[in-house]
């Protein structure tokens, strides 16, 4: 492992990789962005010149080595360049979530003490100006889009292109300094600092070194055989570790092209135009897409409908097998080929998946139905399990070993250990250096030997070596009779039904489980339309007796499936109700990444929980809601509570021998 201390091939930083790419991939595209209706592109050598000009401009503005430079905005080549330019001058880039509120931003900017902030547009400029009073170290702000900013005080405000121009003009003056700072780069220097969203408490700044990022990028790129001519669409938040690894780490390691959409609203069109070969999306994206395909198929002509259903049924049987290279009969293959021409090909083209060679989904469990649908189409969709603290990769599924209920085998270079309480630990070259200015949390999470606690409970399947995640370790509890309680496991099963958007299962310390259900307005609304059910509001639809019947059927099916699992058969849902409002991040019920906040929901809807357990048939409740513009209001409802059939719990299989 001696070569690792020096950096792979002597390349010890992202700017060093940029230099290499500008030499060996000089004329192949590095960045594309759709602007003014056309894909504008930059080759690696052009990108190097742009980044260098910006770096020189930053030097002229007085950036010191070790300064923190915050980068805020949607995915744009210029902001990726900002990150690399910051690294070039020896500063630490800190990408922030662009939809963060001003207060959230103030905390992060204050915590890292950013002297410079590079932002996309007026919206972000306004937010930073709003909080700058409290930021003692903040000095200069650079903005990209000048629209609406002409009249602002420009004593500490600079336009991106002008900083570059000034950099170019001052090349002679600063290029020696830039070279010196570049040469001084160490493999263990900070590469980037990313703040984790955190379901509890303040965000923590995860410090990742050049070693973390480059080793991880190298290992994962080799694992999936990523190539220079691969294409990705960068549309997930830049502050998220995944985007950093895909759009910077792996892109610079392999030299593939990063494509940025024109605007968030045009994402689907841009996806189709680019047809990426390497694609990542959280399960929710796949779910929404499948729902919209199904709804549109309902409206298609009878012939198209029949063709679609006929070939999809066949594809579900043989598609995944063909992908995994398993034997499939001649006739089956021919029919699949015909389906490809008539149905799958055009469908994949519409979705922008024509060229996907490697697709990943992560972050949440994905429904087997959804997962199989995409695999049946011949899209190599796989799962991975990762964390910011691991530079993403902990486990991932190798080609040919893909299943919806596991998260794969340990990624190259990663070791996995399961603690006695079921919590998953890992150790890898990607393990983060520390939480910035937070030694206590660092010590809590990472032990001196480098093992990191994931906070997730899981186990390794003996037959395959794949990791299976059950739930957050702190959410796994026991019921009154001591049986294991894993709410997420049941909730995921419920959420796999398109009609159910969100579910919250309760039962820790109780004798049985009960659940809150949120219906999916798109799917249920469409169903209501087709069945001539009139409704005026979400609340009315959610309380409709036929909707309740439908949800009850889903819950009972889930119970039957949960009963199969001997460890978790106690988690069947005995009683449930359909909530009168959608769980919402604005009301604090979900995190910004749409994870359920159990404690808050339990407190807020305490009366409903009570009613679920005291056997009443219905309950009247009032709930405070926050509207988008910040005003508050109240909604009142009488909710019906239903009993669901449960399967007899199978007696635990005793070890006979």
């Amino acid at each position: 492992m001696a070569h690792l201390t020096e950096g792979v091939e002597g390349l010890r930083s992202i700017p060093a990789l940029l230099g290499r790419n500008a030499k060996i991939h000089a004329d192949s595209p590095a960045y594309r962005e759709k602007e003014y209706g056309i894909w504008q592109s930059w080759t690696w050598s052009e990108a190097e010149r742009e980044i260098e000009a910006l770096a020189l401009g930053l030097l002229k503005l007085g950036v010191n080595e070790g300064d923190f430079i915050a980068v805020i905005g949607r995915n744009r080549p210029y902001l990726y360049w900002s990150i690399v330019a910051a690294q070039m001058v020896g500063a630490v880039p800190v990408p922030l979530y662009q939809d963060a509120s001003a207060e959230e931003m103030a905390y992060v900017l204050g915590h890292c003490g950013a002297r410079f902030v590079i932002v996309a547009d007026q919206e972000q400029v306004d937010k930073v100006i709003e909080v700058q009073e409290g930021l003692h170290q903040f000095e200069h702000m650079i903005y990209l889009d000048p629209r609406g900013l002409r009249k602002y005080d420009h004593s500490h405000l600079h336009q991106f292109s002008q900083v570059q121009d000034q950099g170019r003009a001052a090349r002679d003056e600063f290029s020696a300094d830039l070279e010196r700072r570049q040469a001084g780069k160490n493999y263990d220097d900070i590469c980037v600092m990313l703040y984790t969203s955190g379901t509890t408490g303040k965000p923590k700044g995860v410090v990742l070194s050049n070693r973390n990022i480059i080793e991880t990028a190298k290992n994962s790129a080799e694992f999936d055989h990523l190539k220079t001519d691969d294409e990705v669409l960068a549309y997930l938040p830049m502050a998220w570790v995944g985007d950093f690894i895909f759009s910077i780490g792996q892109a610079y390691w392999t030299g593939f092209c990063v494509n940025c959409p024109e605007s968030p609203e045009t994402m689907m069109t841009d996806l189709r135009e680019i047809a990426p070969s390497y694609y990542f999306a959280p399960p929710r994206v796949f779910e929404t897409q499948l729902t919209s395909i199904m709804i549109r198929m309902e409206d298609a002509s009878p012939l198209k409908k029949r063709l679609f259903h006929h070939f999809m049924a066949h594809a579900r049987k043989v598609g995944p097998k063909i992908l995994d290279g398993e034997p499939v009969g001649m006739l089956g293959r021919l029919r699949y080929r015909l389906g490809e021409v008539l149905v799958f090909g055009p469908l994949k083209n519409t979705l922008g998946f024509s060229k996907v060679r490697v697709g990943y989904t992560a972050g949440e469990a994905i429904g087997p139905e959804i997962f199989d649908f995409y695999r049946a189409l011949g899209i190599n969709l796989k799962q991975l399990y990762g964390q910011t603290e691991a530079s993403v990769f902990i486990t991932q599924q190798p080609d040919g070993q893909v299943r919806s209920d596991t998260v794969g085998v340990p990624s190259p270079g990663v070791e996995i250990r399961i603690a006695e309480n079921g919590e998953v630990f890992y150790r890898s070259p990607g393990v983060f250096v520390e939480y910035f200015k937070n030694a206590d949390s660092t010590a809590d999470t990472k032990n001196p030997e480098g093992w990191v606690a994931t906070g997730d409970a899981g186990f390794i399947e003996e037959s395959t070596g794949h990791l299976r995640i059950i739930d957050r370790a702190k959410d796994v509890g026991a019921m009154a009779d001591g049986a294991m309680f894993a709410p997420k496991y049941v909730e995921n099963k419920l959420k796999f039904y398109p009609n159910i958007l969100e579910a919250v299962v309760m039962g820790a310390g109780r004798d049985r489980c009960c659940a809150f259900i949120n219906i999916d307005l798109t799917a249920v609304g469409n169903w209501a339309e087709r069945n001539n059910i009139a409704y005026a509001s979400y609340q009315e639809l959610a309380g409709h007796s036929r909707v309740l019947d439908m949800i009850q059927a889903h819950v009972e099916e889930v119970n039957a499936s949960v009963a199969q699992d001997e460890m978790l058969s106690g988690c069947q849902v005995h009683r449930f109700l359909v909530l009168h409002k959608e769980l919402d991040a604005d009301d604090g019920e979900l995190t910004r990444t749409r994870k359920v906040r159990r404690k808050i929901i339990g407190e807020k809807f305490g009366d409903l929980v009570e009613a679920l357990y005291d056997g009443s048939d219905s309950i009247y409740t009032e709930t405070e809601v926050t509207y988008e513009d910040g005003r508050k209001g109240k909604i009142k409802a009488t909710l019906e509570i239903r009993d669901a059939k449960v399967m007899p719990v199978a007696p635990k299989a005793m070890a006979a021998e």
Partner: protein, 270 residues
């Protein structure tokens, strides 16, 4: 011209000299007098509003400016010259663009094509060249498309670029109409009730865009609007009409405190 100096607005913008002046305009339809002896001016770079109750003659006034009606009496002065009677397309050539109270877009065409029609006054290639898609016609179309894309970017309608207008909701259609008018790169932009029938959020967006257009391109804007809140917020000067007569003219504050205006809007005891 009598006044070239202009003035400075409350938010510090420099307003230029007189761009368009209406002098003693009267408009009659047979025996009906729609507009009676009205004079006012529009200065370069300002947002000028024309308000008034229903039937006050606001739209007729806009139609005179855009050349759709010829005034029975009075003169229209534009860029320091008296304007002879003109057809609307001739007025458009002079740099006057407008939107309509009832949206007048080509419903079956895409947003992009609709906005391209706004560039018509900037296309000079001959019929043959256009049909062959060759030489001048091609260069022109590319240059025009570039301009249109800037407008699309400015109004943030990239996602509906290829959508037929008929499929769009009302608020977006209004925005597309504004885009078409902007694509003409007008010296003066006439907006006939740009916020009619919109919800609060759409109104906020539209106000933002109107101010941005004025700010970024320096386009002079004359608008008719019913929503008093909007008018008072975004205009520099306001003309108030009632029964075809001008009853007030000045900054929003002056107009707000004008007794005649208050009477016209709230009614008086007879």
């Amino acid at each position: 011209m009598k006044d070239l100096k202009g003035y400075v607005t409350a938010d510090g913008r420099q307003i230029g000299g007189v761009l368009m002046e209406m002098r003693n305009i009267t408009l009659k339809f047979g025996g009906v007098v729609a507009i009676k002896d009205i004079s006012f001016d529009v200065r370069e770079g300002e947002v000028r509003a024309i308000i008034g109750p229903n039937g006050a003659g606001k739209s007729s006034m806009l139609n005179i400016i855009s050349g759709f009606y010829t005034p029975s009496e009075g003169e229209v002065w534009y860029k320091g010259e008296k304007r002879p009677p003109m057809k609307p397309y001739e007025v458009a050539r002079q740099g006057v663009a407008r939107t309509f109270q009832n949206i007048a877009l080509f419903e079956g065409m895409t947003v992009l094509d609709n906005i391209m029609t706004g560039r018509l006054t900037h296309m000079n290639a001959g019929l043959v060249s256009q049909a062959m898609w060759w030489g001048k016609a091609r260069d022109e179309e590319i240059a025009n498309r570039e301009k249109v894309e800037e407008v699309i970017d400015f109004l943030e309608i990239q996602n509906i670029r290829k959508t037929p207008v008929g499929r769009l909701p009302y608020g977006l259609k209004k925005r597309v109409e504004l885009a078409r008018a902007l694509a003409a790169e007008p010296s003066i932009l006439l907006l006939d009730e740009p916020m009619a029938g919109m919800n609060v959020e759409e109104k906020e967006d539209m106000s933002r865009f109107i101010l941005d257009v004025n700010d970024e391109f320096g386009t002079t804007i004359a608008l008719i609007e019913h929503d008093m809140g909007v008018v008072m917020d975004i205009s520099d000067r306001v003309v108030v009409m009632d029964y075809g007569k001008k009853i007030g003219d000045g900054t929003p504050d002056e107009v707000r405190n004008n007794q005649d205006v208050i009477d016209a809007y709230l009614g008086v005891q007879h």
